[in-house]
């Protein structure tokens, strides 16, 4: 009898402890796996552009379309005008190509590309300083984008910024979001990635260098 | 339940009367919340502040109530560390007053900054060289400590202490309260000082700038001293008021006198140092920066402010409360404590608003500042909030351990 009663208080405590542990596990699962996938929306590009085809098979380089102007400013995402240089008529038999020429080129409509690397309004970034002066390869920040085949991209539902820079096959959970700074090719291009690189190279980290 | 924690039943007014009392202050609070809402929703253009007066009524009130709230840490220090036993009578009340002052100040600061949602930046991206960073870190930590000090008082409540867990948490917290008192004292020293330092380091504002030791200007030390001097004065005042409002004897009369004496002594020392600082600043520091002492006192902020601060709300109450007989009379006790508190408020006003009113640039003119009703409303809300929290604490918690014994 005495034994039973002691075990009763023990049982009550064990029950409370069990509830606590279970709640902890549930919270961890939610935080690590559920919320990251809820926070990002998978979106498709308006046209399924095929980088490996352009880069590997045709052999054009990044700066053919993403070129520099005389004053050092950078063209950014190519406008229809640049695409039309090659795509004035349908090349090959791809249905996406057909859609692109018929829907956009013929109708003279700009494609509203979803940007993988959009930065907020307060950031100014100079491609010429990084590419021309510091001789940093495009892949250093953008990853092997020209060799991968992104089908869709992940956009943060609140901020609308994309998460994985070039490869949507990476599983989306907190382990890939909070990742070692060395592997920045997956990164979200946040301020700490810029500053870590600036610091390690000894370049200026003044506010105005990156903030306008 | 063990008998040592069963509290004797205390006489309290009827619920109806209490609700009327609360709703009066609730109205004040609601008015203030409306003002705060306007400031948050429409922006700080709702205030009377401008590019000259970047700090206004709110900072003055913030600085003042933080100084006056120092009663909590100082009484805690005296009671838990130095074992000054007669403070047991009102240590609970001192903690509640401190809690009200600090939470009120932080609430007001949140409205005062232009981007409240970014408030956490001052923690995350802290600039350790700024006095304001020190203030923000310390008052947040200290509010946390005050909350912990407040908790056992709440858990002593008859209903709550029926739950064994609450009872034990209260008891155990009480058991190691000395640790929190010590941490609180440390934090308080630094933020009271840093609030003074905030203005003392403005080396481009000759009116506020003071030389000092290492990174700390003299105002750093003056603010600490004035805060620990005025804190007990406010505690005395509030306890006396509570006795008048409730019509009960809550603490021994001698405790109030002792507290007032302590306050006056410290205030007297503070005044001597303040006078020395003023003389040095007027004759050495300011002239070195190209400013004559007399140039600082213009318009509505004339030399009479200095006179009021040093004498009427300075020397007068200090000397008054140092006379044992005067401390025995309620009238002079209250006047003395009130004047000490007003002296501190005036000092904080001068350090903030008057500093900003003095043109440093040769082309600028002397400007005056008037708060809008929104600013007054928010400041009044802190008072309303304070009275409500204090009344609730008095009604439902055992703030004054001797109440039963003294009203038997």
């Amino acid at each position: 009898m005495k034994m039973r009663d002691i075990s009763e208080s023990q049982r009550q405590f064990a029950l409370l402890g069990g509830i606590f542990a279970a709640a902890l596990v549930v919270s961890l699962i939610m935080g690590w796996i559920l919320f990251p996938s809820l926070a990002y929306a998978r979106k498709a590009q308006p046209i399924n552009y095929n980088p490996p085809l352009h880069v590997e098979q045709i052999g054009i380089t990044c700066d053919t379309c993403h070129f520099f102007y005389e004053d050092g400013s950078w063209a950014g995402i190519p406008t229809l005008e640049t695409c039309v240089d090659c795509h004035s008529d349908i090349i090959g038999a791809s249905p996406e190509e057909e859609k692109f020429v018929n829907e956009y080129v013929k109708k003279n409509r700009e494609v509203k590309w979803a940007l993988y690397v959009k930065q907020p309004e307060c950031v100014s970034f100079s491609h010429s300083s990084h590419v021309r002066m510091a001789k940093i390869a495009c892949e250093t920040c953008h990853g092997p984008q020209g060799h991968s085949d992104p089908k869709d991209y992940l956009a943060n539902r609140i901020t609308n910024y994309s998460y994985v820079v070039y490869d949507p096959r990476v599983p989306l959970n907190a382990f890939t979001i909070i990742r070692d700074k060395g592997e920045t090719v997956w990164g979200t291009m946040r301020m700490d990635e810029c500053t870590a690189c600036h610091r390690s190279r000894g370049t200026s980290t003044a506010c105005f260098i990156c903030h306008k | 339940m063990t008998s040592e924690h069963t509290t004797p039943k205390l006489e309290r007014c009827s619920r109806q009367k209490f609700l009327v009392w609360l709703s009066v202050w609730g109205l004040l609070l609601a008015w203030g919340l409306y003002g705060a809402f306007l400031c948050l929703f429409k922006g700080l253009n709702q205030t009377g502040m401008n590019n000259y007066f970047v700090f206004g009524l709110w900072i003055t009130v913030d600085l003042a109530i933080i100084a006056l709230g120092a009663g909590a840490f100082f009484s805690g220090f005296l009671f838990y560390i130095l074992k000054v036993d007669h403070l047991k009578d009102l240590i609970g009340a001192a903690v509640v007053i401190g809690f009200i002052c600090y939470s009120g100040a932080i609430g007001m600061l949140t409205i005062d900054i232009g981007q409240p949602l970014r408030g956490y930046f001052s923690f995350w991206h802290a600039n350790v060289h700024s006095m304001l960073t020190e203030v923000i870190f310390c008052i947040t930590c200290y509010l946390f400590v005050l909350t912990i000090e407040f908790t056992p008082l709440i858990l002593e409540n008859k209903r709550l202490s029926e739950f064994p867990l609450f009872k034990y948490i209260g008891e155990n917290l009480h058991g190691i309260m000395a640790v929190f008192a010590l941490v609180g004292t440390f934090l308080s020293f630094f933020h009271q000082g840093s609030l003074g330092g905030m203005f003392g380091v403005l080396f481009a504002r000759p009116f506020a700038y003071r030389t000092g030791v290492a990174i700390w200007p003299w105002t750093f030390f003056l603010f600490i001293l004035s805060a620990i001097a005025s804190g007990p004065a406010l505690t005395t005042l509030v306890v006396w008021t509570t006795q008048k409002v409730t019509g009960k004897q809550l603490v021994r009369r001698s405790t109030l006198s002792k507290l007032a004496k302590l306050s006056a002594t410290l205030f007297f020392v503070y005044l001597i140092l303040k006078a020395a600082d003023t003389v040095y600043w007027a004759n050495v520091t300011a002239p070195q920066m190209g400013f004559a002492f007399t140039r600082f006192y213009q318009g509505p902020y004339g030399m009479e402010l200095l006179f009021l601060e040093l004498f009427v709300f300075g020397l007068l109450p200090a000397v008054l409360l140092l006379i044992p007989k005067a401390r025995e009379h309620d009238f002079s006790l209250v006047i003395g404590c009130l004047f000490i508190c007003m002296g501190i408020v005036l000092n904080r006003f001068v350090m903030t608003v008057q500093t900003l009113s003095i043109p440093v640039l040769p082309f600028e003119k002397f400007v005056a500042y008037a708060p809008t009703w929104q600013e007054w409303a928010v400041a009044a809300a802190v008072l309303g909030y304070g009275v409500i929290v204090y009344s609730l604490s008095y009604r439902y918690l055992h703030l004054f351990p001797r109440e039963h014994e003294l009203n038997a």
Binding site: D71, M133, C207, F208 | G43, D112, G114, H129, L132
Partner: protein, 249 residues
């Protein structure tokens, strides 16, 4: 910036303003507004709350006609050197002194709006955004894309048009150059001054005109007694003007 030999050349960009030449026309203030997307308020006559990175003060010598003399003091941010009042006080590290250019810069999206820097600045340089910035619909198209508009509740100030520095650097980098020529980076106000009263350049570089001008006996700074070490120098031949700048101390 690095020189050809590879060592870091530390620039100290500064400005000289010849108050004897200044006519008070206000062009510098207007172009500053346009260049930096500085918002304006409904009531611009309320100078205590309006935004002005470049403010022009009209000052006279206090005498009656015919002895009265008037000068104009255009006042950008003084970009105080090494002992900058506003930088050390910011609790959120939103403002900074850049050691490589001497520019006192700011991250507007970092500012929490505590206004402590405004209290610290004796030159009244910093302005607080009391309202949300609003531009007339058509005018929004004319905003400068190189400068992000600020939001309500933050402090802003003159940055010596640091975006122009970045643009000049972009161009230099594109040409494979690692240094800037004197005329490549110039703030909008200096560029626009119709009488050439303002000069801009590197105070550390003896070849730049400003480095020579600040050696002149005509050169003085505002409130030198405070030891804020401004990098904006004024030039005047009149003694009362030079004395006025330091409150006649």
């Amino acid at each position: 910036m690095k020189t050809e030999s590879g060592d870091q050349r530390i620039a100290r960009y500064g400005m000289t303003i010849d108050v004897d030449k200044c006519t008070g026309c206000g062009t510098c203030a207007v172009v500053c507004h346009m260049e930096n997307n500085v918002p304006f308020t409904v009531d611009e006559s309320d100078k205590s709350r309006n935004m002005a990175w470049m403010r022009i003060y009209k000052v006279d010598n206090g005498l009656d006609y015919p002895h009265v003399r008037v000068v104009y003091f255009p006042r950008p941010c003084m970009q105080c050197d090494h002992h900058t009042p506003c930088v050390s006080v910011c609790p959120a590290s939103a403002t900074n002194y850049d050691g490589l250019t001497g520019i006192v810069d700011q991250i507007n999206t970092r500012c929490i709006g505590c206004r402590y820097c405004m209290a610290a600045c004796p030159y009244m340089v910093r302005c607080f955004n009391w309202w949300d910035p609003v531009w007339p619909k058509d005018m929004e198209k004319h905003l400068n894309p190189d400068v992000a508009p600020r939001m309500r509740g933050v402090v802003e100030k003159c940055t010596f048009c640091s975006h122009r520095y970045l643009k000049a650097k972009d161009k230099a980098h594109n040409e494979g150059r690692d240094y800037l020529r004197e005329d490549e980076y110039v703030p909008a106000c200096v560029e626009a001054c119709p009488v050439g009263a303002m000069r801009f350049g590197d105070l550390n570089n003896p070849e730049h005109a400003v480095a020579q001008l600040i050696q002149s006996p005509r050169a003085f700074r505002l409130l030198e007694n405070l030891h804020t070490e401004p990098k904006v120098y004024y030039l005047s031949s009149y003694e009362w003007v030079r004395k006025l700048a330091d409150n006649f101390a």
